[in-house]
């Protein structure tokens, strides 16, 4: 029997913070707001650590019912919390990174007029994210799922006076809703066929089922639908379009929600439902293909972006693609591993980028930066760490996780691996491009020239001039930098002499039930034949080479010969423009869905059916009646003789009728 860990505290604490700040924050001082927000976020983190400490002593999975929620007939959903290795990892990532970003935000948002609102939203986000992570059933997960959507809607649109920000928020929410639609249908299928949404019950019910080798069976359908939901939340093709726009939000938000935590919810959900996926190879293939394509596709777009945050955004999309690739090939633990490392280095990168933007007074265009490495050394170094990590330079977090994924991809299907490899090259290329453009060469901006106006969107500080960020922002950077350097060592594969602790840790979740894995599910690390490891080593080497190639290309184009890119762009302007305009996807969507919908609804449905058909019919009936009446009253000619005529005629008719009746009788 497990002790009661009061897991409910973890989500509820941030909620309390949100509530307090939300109702009282407007009046109270910034310090007070800060205290409340940090305290509750920190408390959640602390409690998560406590849980982690007592974790070893638990029988897993550990379920904690909390309260009744919905009861309808024999179908019921309750609030319950579900703790196992997977959710613990997520828990620590979310609370930990979340707390760091809270701290960072204090500095970043300090001058913003609605400081309290920001932290309210941030805490609210924590609440929903933790609900998602700790949920004991799909519906509760859906609460968090939609809730984080709401939080990101609010935070993206935080500077709502900017139309672009407001629209971005709305776009994010709606696109997410499209994903949620798929999720919902999946839930209905689960209810219909398994009568429950509790993870334990569903999985128990699913386990005995045999994998659906061919065709689209029930589990495959469910899997694909879940993937639709995941694609919405985790910005995969075709629903990734909201994430780049989401960069309208304050940078900490981008770091927390759109890099570290929320967008990874999809990966979490898929891994959580791995029991289903393992029995639905078709679904897994879909996941893998979508992941791979997204990874490549987004990376290519990343090349041509000039907005520093946009670059990171696309890189996020591409990295998420990696994670899905991993899940798709059944390497869930690898996916989660990458999720964690990505949380570290991408969070770091965003925060660093934020620090840069902060420094240059809200400028986001890399073409207006350059040579900053001297001016903001802390930022520079931390950013470097992040860049190296993501580029997959050996020894850093990103290297291990990405390598793991590629290796597993190869085991599943070499095309995945190839695409992943190319993507890796592109990744390191655009990341170093960013690095060079931002920190090397000479400064191309004009911040010294103009004083920085306070109520500029990126609520920066009062005085002009490029300067290092305050300590409260730097400290989180440093911590994350350290994490993204060493974070990978928890999962060093055996081939590199490590003993993949991370995977072993997650093993009970992913392989304990893996009674019958399809070809997609790889055998557990431990039982891996030795011959493989040499192979793996070779592939590792290849990816390392690729990473350095990327660096080299970036060095050549953006440091050594800065004029080249322009020429290249000019020479192959078609391709370049396509990239700059992100393959015109937004435009295509607008033309395909948005505009037809609006116009159709206006012209055909509202003006057409409603006005011209239904209403017209009704009103015409009315006018018709009046018209008839107008005609009928001419019977009332007012002439006595006519009246007598009517009477006489009527009398004649009745007499005739009566006689007929009489005779007929």
């Amino acid at each position: 029997m497990n002790p009661n860990l009061n897991l409910w505290l973890i989500p509820v604490l941030p909620l309390a913070g949100a509530a307090i700040n939300g109702f009282l924050g407007k009046k109270s001082s910034r310090t007070a707001v800060t205290t409340v927000a940090l305290f509750f976020a920190g408390a959640a983190f602390a409690w998560a650590l406590v849980v982690a400490a007592r974790f070893s002593s638990l029988a897993l999975p550990h379920e904690e019912p909390f309260a009744h929620w919905i009861r309808s007939g024999n179908f019921s959903v309750d609030f319950a919390f579900y703790l196992d290795q997977l959710s613990l990892v997520m828990l620590l990532i979310v609370t930990g990174v979340g707390f760091l970003i809270h701290v960072y935000s204090v500095g970043y948002m300090w001058d913003d007029p609605s400081y309290y609102r920001f932290f309210t939203y941030l805490n609210l986000f924590m609440f929903f994210m933790l609900t998602l992570v700790l949920a004991g059933n799909y519906l509760q997960m859906f609460i968090g799922w939609e809730g984080v959507g709401l939080a990101s809607y609010l935070l993206i649109g935080f500077w709502f006076t900017k139309d672009s920000a407001a629209s971005a928020g709305k776009k994010a929410f709606i696109v997410n809703r499209i994903g949620d639609f798929g999720f919902l249908i999946a839930l209905f299928l689960l209810i219909k066929h398994f009568g429950s949404l509790n993870f334990s019950q569903v999985f128990e019910a699913v386990k005995p089922l045999a994998p659906e080798a061919a065709g689209v069976g029930l589990l495959t359908t469910i899997g694909i639908l879940l993937m639709v939901g995941a694609a919405g939340k985790s910005a995969q093709i075709p629903l990734y379009v909201w994430l780049p726009d989401a960069m309208e939000g304050p940078t900490p938000v981008s770091a927390l929600i759109h890099a570290a935590t929320m967008v990874t919810a999809g990966v979490y959900m898929i891994s959580r439902s791995h029991v289903i996926f393992e029995r639905a190879p078709g679904a897994l293939t879909v996941v893998a293909v979508i992941g791979t394509l997204t990874a490549f596709f987004a990376a290519t777009i990343g090349i041509a972006q000039t907005d520093i945050k946009k670059v990171l955004a696309y890189s996020t999309v591409s990295q998420l693609g990696y994670m899905f690739m991993a899940c798709g090939v059944g390497a869930f633990s690898a996916g989660i591993f990458h999720l964690m490392t990505h949380a570290f280095f991408k969070g770091l990168l965003f925060l660093a980028a934020g620090s840069v933007i902060h420094a240059v007074g809200g400028e986001q265009d890399m073409r207006k930066m350059g040579g900053l490495r001297r001016k903001i050394p802390w930022t520079f170094w931390t950013m470097t760490a992040g860049t190296l990590a993501i580029a997959g330079i050996p020894g850093l977090a990103g290297f291990f996780s990405k390598d793991e994924i590629l290796w597993r991809a190869y085991q599943a299907n070499w095309t995945y691996w190839l695409v992943g490899l190319i993507t890796a090259f592109i990744t390191s290329f655009y990341m170093f491009r960013l690095w060079f453009l931002t920190f090397f060469g000479e400064y191309r901006g004009e911040v010294e020239a103009r004083g920085h106006d306070t109520h500029d969107a990126h609520g920066g500080h009062g005085h002009g001039g490029i300067h290092e960020s305050p300590r409260v922002m730097v400290v989180p950077l440093v911590i994350l930098a350290i994490l993204s350097v060493i974070g990978g060592y928890v999962g060093v594969p055996a081939s590199l002499g490590g003993s993949n602790h991370f995977e072993r840790f997650l093993d009970p979740v992913f392989h304990s039930q893996a009674t019958s894995g399809g070809e997609a599910t790889a055998p557990p690390e431990g039982r891996e034949p030795k011959t493989e490891s040499s192979n793996e080593l070779m592939f590792t080497g290849i990816s390392v080479v690729v990473a350095f190639l990327g660096f080299g290309a970036a060095w050549l184009l953006y440091y050594r010969r800065p004029e080249l890119p322009g020429r290249i762009a000019a020479s192959m302007s078609g391709a370049y423009q396509t990239l700059v305009h992100k393959y015109y996807v937004d435009e295509i969507y607008a033309a395909l869905f948005v505009r037809p919908l609006i116009n159709g609804s206006t012209r055909i449905l509202w003006q057409g059916v409603d006005r011209k058909v239904i209403d017209a019919a009704v009103n015409d009936a009315g006018y018709g009646a009046e018209h008839v009446s107008d005609e009928a009253r001419h019977m009332q000619s007012g002439n006595i003789r006519s009246y007598a005529g009517w009477v006489a005629a009527g009398c004649a008719v009745i007499v005739a009728f009566m006689i007929w009746m009489g005779v007929g009788r």
Binding site: H634, Q636, N639, I640, R641, A648
Partner: protein, 104 residues
Amino acid sequence: MNPSQVPLSYYLLLSGFLFVCGVLGFLIKRNIITIFMSIELMLNGVNLSFVAFAAHWHALAGQVFVFFVMVVAAAEAAVGLAIIIAVFRTRETLNVDQVNLLKL
């Protein structure tokens, strides 16, 4: 057939004829007074059939009825002519086709 015997149907047909004439008069005459007279004609037709039926049934009720009809006719005549006078006073006409203020 015995010439001193008049078939009942003759009386009835006559009365019916008078009645129809009265109705026709009401329909085609323009002068209000004449129209009123046609009503009287109708009543006379009715009376005739009353009397005829009374004779046929050997029931005096018919004749009594005729008596009452006459009284009523007289009363109606008094009122009706008064009304006609009132109308004439306000409209200066006896043509029924011009008495159509109230219509539609």
